[in-house]
Subunit: 398 residues, 2 copies
């Protein structure tokens, strides 16, 4: 336990989630009234706000406002997609010194952890005493080390509920339906569509994730087979699917400063696949495509309670560990206990273990080229919590 | 009160809603144990199931199954998009006679009411004694006579919650965001996005409905103005927007048997508008488009309680009126009492008053070319019921 007195600064970065503000509030509430903490500041728009010294005073927010913000989706501090240069990171450290920032928390994904990692390296070089922590969030669930990521459970619940409803829709008015799900590198969120399958003939009948190479020919064969079997076909497709060389199926050409191609915010992939099905299997077929888009990460009023409380706890843990001072920096992660009952422990790992690289779904969760193994249900169910159910008539004959 | 003994037949038709099974269960539960009712049958896939004599026995379903089905989205009897020919309608009457169908209920929209209307005309000509009722449902809310339609409240809640979340997303990562909402002829569902606006600078900043002619030039001017004012712009667009001559903005060319063009199940309109914005206002702008698609009518586990209980009551009313026998046929509608407290009465109107034609939003709900009047909130709030709230930080300066 080493005492370090100064100001706390918090930023949020990358694509929002429905529970990202739980982590923010978890940090703030843990910092309130602590001797070592002078002021609790927020940087608007993450690292961009740090560089611009665009700070707000979070310590003056009422308990009521904080709780209301906690259940509001998306970054209350506002977010940013910006990979700072080395020079900008050095400038950020100057800002830290100028404002006596001794505790910095950056809530985000692997790119955010990378920025925190670089900031920490510079702080060590400059011998500036600041405790730097990354708090995980991403609906993609693709961070390394952690069992799962805050934000994923709520998005998974949204996706599973959407597929549960769309399966009923597709059963009402049969046809071929393609649903495109977020997930740039990893198929975790797309795989959550498996939760919608209750009866043997329920969709999604096909699930495509980026962990398996995709080919149009294989896809058309799969669709034809399922359509013959069920008279309909509901398909879950990750936006990140790609060919054997890693080449995208279609490309918008728009790239952000981390080198990430724009995948979401367009119906192009779904429409492309839809056209391919009509072309390959018959113009007369009823083929539709929906792209779930930003609703998966932002829909108001529908989230996983487990996800919300875990996101809160990750924020609390970050502040607690920072205050303790046994570690100068790190990334919070969740470890699942190996027990019959779902239980999570909150731990800290090195920033470099989480920075930059992402985590694919493990091979044992995959089933062939176009399905997910039922083992995945044991993994994902506790994260999503209570799901709606879909009932059928018994279809009693006369 | 005239006694007519025989079998009950129920069908569901058109695009599903989240509460369409409430109406089904409302009919069934009211028919159970009634002297005049021999058997309660369901036709699978609506009129197609009638013609194929594809019937199931609903009277044998347990109370538990019926209640579970009631809260499951989409047509449990399965649906159909089919405008029967005159000959097919005559065949359907033959099937009624063969199976001693004396009560027929067809749950659907204006096209469904049209089919019920024709069936009734033929029954009168043939002097076949059958009581024929249309039970309203449509997320589009575009049926005539009724104050609003079962299915609309839940879809409006979904759309409003999606916009509430997406407004936070757009505030987190500013840019121009286009969201395409269902609604072929009328803008009711798109207008429900207004519920997401809490603060003066909240989106949707622009709302386009089919009741107002749309032009790309006007649209680009509106977007530029809002983007300058707010540094971001969230836009609600109805899928049914069209030019001054009624010509669609883009067209898929796919038409159903009622002559309706395919609008949903594609991201094409959103992507087209998105490309136009980049082309007209600057390639460097961050422009995204989402098309909410079938989630609006099928999402599991998120519905309006008011909508669910009204849909149930419409089903009950239909069976009650049919049994009473004062009317041989009709369409159930909801009349809103002119009172401070929201209260609904259930009434019956002639089938021809609801058949075929749709109802646009009244002019007093519109505000200029690209907005909805706040008066609409009084209309829509009770239908949607409890909404989530979106809270902001106070942004206290240092």
């Amino acid at each position: 336990m080493s005492f370090l007195k100064g100001n706390v600064l918090i930023g949020q970065s990358g694509g929002p989630t429905c529970v990202i503000n739980q982590s923010l509030v978890g940090i703030v509430e843990t910092a309130i009234g602590v001797d070592a903490v002078d002021r609790i500041l927020g940087a608007r728009h993450g690292i961009a706000g740090v560089l611009a010294e665009d700070f707000i005073d979070l310590g003056r927010e009422s308990k009521e406002t904080l709780e209301a913000v906690a259940i509001t989706p998306c970054a209350a501090l506002r977010s940013v997609r910006m990979k700072p240069t080395r020079e900008q990171c050095e400038m950020a450290l100057d800002v830290f010194q100028k404002h006596n920032i001794r505790y910095f928390f950056y809530i985000g994904g692997n790119d955010t952890a990378e920025t925190a990692h670089i900031l920490n390296e510079i702080a060590v070089e400059k011998s500036y005493d600041v405790r730097l922590f990354h708090v995980p969030k991403t609906i993609d669930n693709d961070l390394r080390v952690t069992d799962h990521c805050p934000g994923f459970g709520s998005a998974a619940k949204f996706v599973a509920s959407a597929f549960m409803g769309d399966n009923q829709d597709n059963r009402s008015l049969p046809g071929i339906k393609i649903d495109v799900v977020m997930g740039r590198h990893a198929g975790w969120l797309t795989a959550a569509s498996l939760l919608a399958r209750e009866h043997a003939d329920d969709g999604p009948h096909l699930i495509y994730v980026p962990e398996v190479d995709f080919s149009i020919e294989g896809f058309l064969g799969d669709v034809e087979r399922m359509y013959k079997q069920h008279g309909r076909c509901l398909i879950a497709v990750s936006e990140g699917i790609h060919g054997p060389g890693g080449e995208p199926i279609i490309t918008s050409g728009e790239v952000d400063s981390h080198g990430n191609m724009q995948l979401s915010g367009s119906g192009a992939l779904g429409d492309f696949l839809s056209a391919k099905v009509k072309e390959g299997l018959g113009k007369g077929l009823r083929v539709r495509a929906d792209t779930f888009g930003y609703l998966q990460r932002s829909f108001a009023g529908y989230f996983s309670e487990t996800d919300a409380s875990e996101a809160r706890e990750c924020g609390r843990k970050a502040m607690t560990v920072a205050l303790a001072g046994d570690r100068q920096h790190g990334s919070i992660f969740m470890a699942r206990e190996d027990a019959d009952v779902y239980r999570i422990g909150y731990e800290v790992t090195e920033l470099r273990n989480v920075a930059k690289e992402t985590r694919d779904m493990e091979a044992h969760f995959l089933k062939g080229n176009c399905d997910i193994d039922e083992k995945f249900l044991d993994y994902v169910r506790p994260l999503v919590g209570k799901m709606p159910t879909a009932a059928r008539l018994s279809d009693f004959p006369l």
